[in-house]
Each structure stands twice: as C-alpha cells, then as structure tokens.
C-alpha cells in the first residue's frame, strides 16, 4: 500500500496488459488478507477488557480518519467540520436502533452501520452542495461555520439530539443472528473490525477509479483539470458526499460501541481530533491516516490516565509535525523507501544507529519540557491540591527551586547535545543514500 496518492507505484509495464494470473491476484488481495488475519487474531494477543475497547475505538477512528483523508489527502479539501457527518450518522443510528427495538423490526445489529452511511451521504450531499462552491481557505472556513451551525443547533433541537445527556440505546435488543446478542465487547470488536475492513477496501478501491484519479488531479492543479474536461466543483462535491458516507458509518459504529451519542460527537473538538489523526499519520499516503488513527487513539487513552494536560501535549506534537514532518509518520517512513528498495540493509542499520544516538539527547530535552509543563500546571491551577507531583515515578516538589533548575538544565543541555548529533545523522544519511544509489546501479 505504497504512495497511492501519487500513483507512481501503479504504473504498468510497457505494452503488457495485466493478465489475471495467480501472481497478480495474490499481489492485489494479499495485503488485505493479511490485514484481515491480523484483525482476527488481535484479541488473542491483547486480552484485557479495556484493551479490547481501545481496539474497537481504533477501528472506528480508522474509518473516520480514512474518510477524512478522502477530502484532504486525495482532493486537497481541508475541512474543520467533518465530525458533523460522523455525529449525525451516530444520531440517526441510535434513533434507528431505538425504532427497531420499539417496533420489533427484523433488522440485526450488523446492518445498522448502513443507516449511518445513508445519513452521512444524505448530509454530505445537502451540505456539500453549498460547501463545495468554494475551495481552499474559503472552503475550510465554511466547513468550520457549518460545523458550528450543527453543533449549536444540537442544543436547540433537544428532541433529536437529546440535550446534554444525548440519546442512548441498547444494542443487545435488536434481532439476534447466529446466536450473537452483541453484549460482550469481543463480539462488538469483531463487528467493528469487519466493517472497518470493508470500508478500508471500499475507500482504497475508490482511489483506483477514474473518479479517484481525478480527485488527485483536482488537488494538484484544479485549473488544468478544467482544461482536460473536468469540472473541479463536481469532483469536490462527489468526494465530499462519499467522505460523508464513510464518516457516517464510523459514527454508527461508535453509537453501537458506546450505546450513547451526544452532541460532542458533532462538535469542533471531534473535527479537530480526526484532522490531527489524519495529519499526524500522514495525508500523502493511504495508510497514513490508519497509522495516525491508531496512534492518536492510543495516546488519547493512555495519556489521559497519566496527566491532565494531555491535550496540550497533543497540540505540541501536532505543531511539531506541521513544522518538521508535514508528511506525517507515513511520510517519515516513506523517505526511507529508496533504501529499502535497494536492499541496502547495511546502510539502513548504520542510519538507525545514528538515529539512536540522536534519540538520547532528544529524550533528555523532552523530559525537561515535560517537567516544566507539569510543574507549571501544578503551580497554577492545581495548586489547591498540593504542589507535590510525581513525574516519571519521581516525586517532585513544584514549589522548590531545585526541580526548576534541573528542568532548565535538562532542556538547555538536551537541546545542545541534540544539536551536536545533527551532523552525525546527516553524515549517516548521506552515506546510506549514496551506498543505496551505488547498489542500485550495480544491480
């Protein structure tokens, strides 16, 4: 699943039409089969209940982030209001589930995400017809405004949005098939994993269609796309509607997972979260948002147990990535692709060693920053709870001078040492790529 967004990897060999032979088919469905197997055996590896819930949340976030990347990575549309389609999908799903339960309709739980998809598509079309009249910065602001419109409306339309408590449901009361009542989390996990895989395949397939290719073209140069016969506004509108569809499915899955949907699911915070996830993972490749979704969900769950200001760390990580790694984690991995393709394992190892050398001081710098942030927090807002805190299992008294001195030393010293390792990494990088180029020529 290499850089699909640029299509470079899928250029066919000259004059040869791809025959549907065994090798070609294997290459096509191999990765998906492996993914399916991985999804299937994960619960055997991570057995705790909370881990299973986290895996379920990851599956939902993967669908949501991939739907977001249909807009940003594929078509160049930066949206600050994508959670609208996610949240509305969730709300329609819970109302549908409650109706099914109330009227005892013969509809099993696995079919409920279809309602979410329908909802996402419907609202995608309605709001998209207005939003996609503009592109670029204006589109971003419009998406923000529409998001606020829906979020503010949620406090007014209390019947549909359920006010502050939201709308709840019971997923075990739908029609049971194959003896599954979807009460236990493990059953819900497999439901989510199945839908996640389906959506991943569907969204990937979309990128391999004439429409998907033209999305990339419109992203690159909308004017030129006009001069080859395409209306960029139509492309954007279709992309927007389909992105809404998949976001709606993710929303329905979250409704099933938590049996509760409230107005925060359509809000700016949720829209920001999916943007963060997609961007940190890397918007330039198909799997980037998947990586980002997994990482962000993990951080969200893990960090919030460790510190109250986890959102600040999130924001700082995001800014760091925008400034220094705008292609995200996937981008950072992909830079090394030429080394992998040239099978230059020796140079790669040396490069990895250089990275490790640079990592030491970087961690020191990071520790110092964390210390400062945590101490500031405990001195200001949480001062009423006492100013003694525990950082990295070390008890620190935020009021005394010594920890502050230590923190400053860590930051300054760490940064200085880190800077000293840059030439080392630079040289290893240069050597690795030179060797890889040489090896490539020799082959």
């Amino acid at each position: 699943m290499s850089d699909v967004a640029s299509g470079v990897a899928n250029v066919p060999a000259r004059g040869v039409l791809p025959q549907p032979g065994a090798a070609a088919v294997a290459r096509l469905i191999g990765p998906w089969l492996a993914l399916a197997v991985a999804f299937a055996v994960l619960p055997a590896i991570v057995t705790s209940g909370s881990a299973l819930t986290m895996l379920s949340m990851m599956g939902i976030m993967i669908v949501f982030a991939l739907s977001y990347n249909m807009l940003l990575g594929e078509t160049g549309l930066l949206s600050f209001g994508h959670a609208v389609y996610y949240g509305l999908g969730g709300f329609l799903a819970v109302h549908a589930m409650n109706t099914v339960i109330h009227d005892a309709l013969p509809i099993p739980l696995p079919a409920v995400p279809l309602v979410g998809g329908f909802s996402g598509l419907l609202f995608g079309i309605i709001f998209g017809s207005v939003s996609t009249r503009r592109a670029g910065t204006a589109f971003a602001m419009i998406s923000l405004g529409l998001g606020e419109l829906v979020a503010s409306s949620s406090l007014i339309l209390r019947g549909f949005f359920g006010g502050e408590e939201g709308v709840s449901t019971n997923r075990t009361k739908l029609l049971h098939v194959f003896g599954l009542n979807f009460g236990p989390q493990i059953q819900v996990y497999y439901l989510i994993a199945g839908w996640c895989l389906l959506c991943m395949i569907a969204m990937y397939a979309l990128t391999r269609t004439p429409f998907g290719r033209m999305c990339n073209a419109v992203r690159e140069n909308p004017e030129r796309a006009q001069f080859v016969g395409y209306n960029p506004q139509t492309i954007r509108f279709i992309a927007f509607s389909l992105a809404g569809l998949f976001a709606g499915i993710a929303g329905a899955l979250t409704a099933i997972n938590f049996e509760l949907v409230n107005s925060s699911e359509v809000g700016a915070a949720q829209s920001g979260l999916v943007l963060l996830a997609a961007y940190i993972g890397g918007i330039g490749s198909f799997m980037g948002p998947v990586i980002g979704a997994v990482l962000v969900t993990w951080l969200e769950v893990m960090l919030s147990d460790v510190t109250d200001v986890w959102q600040l760390y999130f924001g700082l990580l995001f800014i760091g990535m925008v400034m220094f790694a705008p292609n995200g984690i996937a981008g950072l991995i992909m830079i090394h692709a030429p080394l992998w393709q040239a099978r230059a394992y020796g140079p790669m190892l040396r490069l990895a060693l250089a990275y490790l050398v640079a990592l030491g001081p970087a961690l020191v710098l990071l520790a110092g920053l964390i210390l400062i942030i945590e101490m500031t927090y405990h001195l200001s807002v949480k001062a009423t709870e006492g100013t003694t805190i525990s950082v990295f299992h070390v008890t620190v008294e935020a009021m005394s001078v010594i920890p502050w001195v230590v923190a400053v030393i860590l930051v300054a010293g760490g940064f200085w040492l880190f800077r000293m390792t840059w030439p080392v990494v630079g040289a290893a990088w240069h050597n690795a790529f030179a060797e890889a180029r040489g090896a490539g020529r020799a082959k």
Binding site: L78, V130, Q311, F318, M323, P326
Partner: protein, 316 residues
C-alpha cells in the same frame, strides 16, 4: 420600543466595532501573507488574560498599554520562528500551524488560569453611567470601548495612507515580490503586520474582557464568528469585513433582545410549524435562543446567493 432600538443599535455597533478590530487584523494578515490566522481569536483571548493579570498587579490603565504590546510581541515571534518556517510547506501547512497554535494557546491558558471565568472588572475610573437614554443608564465603559476602537481605526488609516511604512505595507499587500526587489525588507514587514494584527486583536481582548466574560473558551466562541465575517465580507476585503462585522454585530444584538419565539417570526412570514420530526423544537424556542447560530445561517445564505462574499472578488 424606541428605547430598545436605540440601546440595541448602540450595543450592536459597539459589538460590530470590536469584531472589526479583530477582523481587520485578520484580513490584513490574510491579504499580505496569504494565510488565514486560525489563532487570531486566541490572541484576543491572550489580550484579555494578560490585561486581567497585569491589571491585578498595577491597575487597568498600565495593562491597557502593556498587554497588547506583549501579545503583539508574541505574535511577531510566532511569525518569525514559526510561520516563516512553515511557509515552505505550503498554504495547508500554514493554516494547520495556526490551527495547532490556537489549540495550544487555549490549553496553556486553561493550564494557567483554569477553566472558570477570571474576575476581570471594569476599572473604577470608568465605572459610572455615561448618559441616560430613556430609562436605561448607558455605562461609560462601553463609550470608552467605542471611542478606543474608533481612535485605533483613525490611527491605522493615517499610518497606512500617510506614512512610508504604510505605503510599503499597502504595496506588499498585492506585490510582495516587487517590493522585496525594490530593496525593502519584506520579511520584516510581514513580522510587523503580524505583530500589529495580533496586537489589535489583543486590544479588543483587553477592553472587551471586563464587559464580556474572560474565560478560556473565549477564543473558541468568537473564532468561528470571526471567520464567518471574513467569508461573508469577502476574503481579503477590508471594506467587506467592516460591513460584515457591523451586520453581524447588529443582527446578533437585536436577536438577543427579541422575545418572540421562532414560531411567531416564521408564522408572520407565513411558514407553519411542522407536526413533529427533528426540527420541531426549533419552533418553540425564542429568537434570542437561536441568536448564536444566526451568523452561520447568514453564512449559508451568502454561499447560496453570493459565494464570493459581499465584496469579494471572483476566484479564478
């Protein structure tokens, strides 16, 4: 009735002026540097909190001078060491940088000052009634806000049209490369504009803080309205931003003071309420309750009927 209209108009114009104080800085930065500063409302918030903190130590009037300068300085540093670096990665990265910045600023403010409102009060020197219109006492502090805003605009207009720096800025708005080739330090001009733009937002925060609420969600509440204003007014148009600011300021102020329910208004227009369904609640709330969403409804209307904004130019 007349009293209501007069007071609401005064308040609406005042609110619109405050909005324009921010929207003007935003538009200048956008026109010149091509980046929409997502964190603009965050600088407004910083102005309010700095103003509060400084006024706790030395009083309101020193804070009034010092806080905007401090915030503008922070803005200039952000431009110099952050935005300038991100510029090479393209416009999406620039917008996302300011988005991340807004997020981080809100978190830092929450971390230091907490989530509740700060006790930022009108200074005693201004805490009297300016005049009595009909039966309502109009506070002097509001007149102060209005006069400050107008004074700032006058100064800004004078600087832009009559000083050398102002001319360079005007030229850089449309032809930054040419201005650079003429020997002017365009990056420094950018830093200046960003610093002044954010400083303006901070002034709005310092003076609005005591009148409205000073709280860590200020930026999140005002930010979207600000962006609606620039889209409705037309991206890059100062005149459009002015019109849109006044429009939204007046409409929201009047809406809040109307006690009719939506059903009354729509019924007067001949639209009957639905029997049930998701929109049913809409008919039973008062116009005042839907005042927060009116700017966004305006946005949708503009997009349908005049997509480039009130005074925007056609996008190519």
């Amino acid at each position: 009735m007349l009293e209501l209209v007069t007071i609401s108009t005064l308040n609406g114009v005042l609110y619109g002026m405050l909005l324009f104080l921010m929207a003007s800085g935003l538009t200048l930065i956008f026109s010149m540097m091509g980046v929409l500063n997502f964190a603009h409302a965050s600088f407004y918030m910083l102005g309010a909190f700095f103003g509060y903190q400084i006024s706790q130590i030395v009083g309101f009037w020193p804070a009034f001078i010092v806080a905007p300068v401090l915030v503008g300085g922070i803005g200039a540093l952000v431009e110099r060491y952050g935005l300038r670096h991100v510029h090479q990665h393209g416009p999406v990265a620039e917008l996302l940088f300011t988005f991340g910045l807004a997020f981080v600023i809100e978190e830092v403010v929450q971390m230091i000052w907490g989530k509740g409102p700060a006790d930022y009060r009108v200074p005693p020197s201004l805490d009297f009634s300016a005049f009595t219109a009909f039966s309502t006492n109009y506070p002097a502090y509001k007149m102060f806000e209005l006069l400050t805003a107008i004074a700032i605009f006058a100064v800004l207009l004078a600087v832009l049209t009559r000083t050398r720096v102002g001319l360079i800025i005007q030229a850089s708005l449309t032809h930054s490369h040419m201005v650079a080739m003429l020997g002017h330090n365009v990056p420094r001009v950018f830093m200046l504009v960003f610093g002044v733009g954010t400083g303006l937002a901070a002034v709005a925060g310092v003076i609005a803080g005591p009148a409205l609420v000073t709280q860590s969600n200020m930026a999140g509440l005002l930010g979207p309205i600000l962006f609606v204003i620039v889209v409705v007014g037309g991206l890059g148009s100062l005149a459009g931003a002015f019109l849109a600011s006044l429009l939204i300021g007046l409409v929201q102020t009047f809406a809040v003071s109307v006690n009719l329910s939506v059903a009354d208004v729509l019924g007067g227009l001949g639209i009957a309420p639905p029997a049930g369904g998701p929109l049913f609640d809409l008919w039973n709330v008062t116009v005042a309750q839907i005042a927060p969403i009116i700017p966004y409804l305006l946005l949708v209307l503009i997009l349908i009927f005049r997509p480039t904004g009130l005074m925007g130019t056609r996008e190519h």
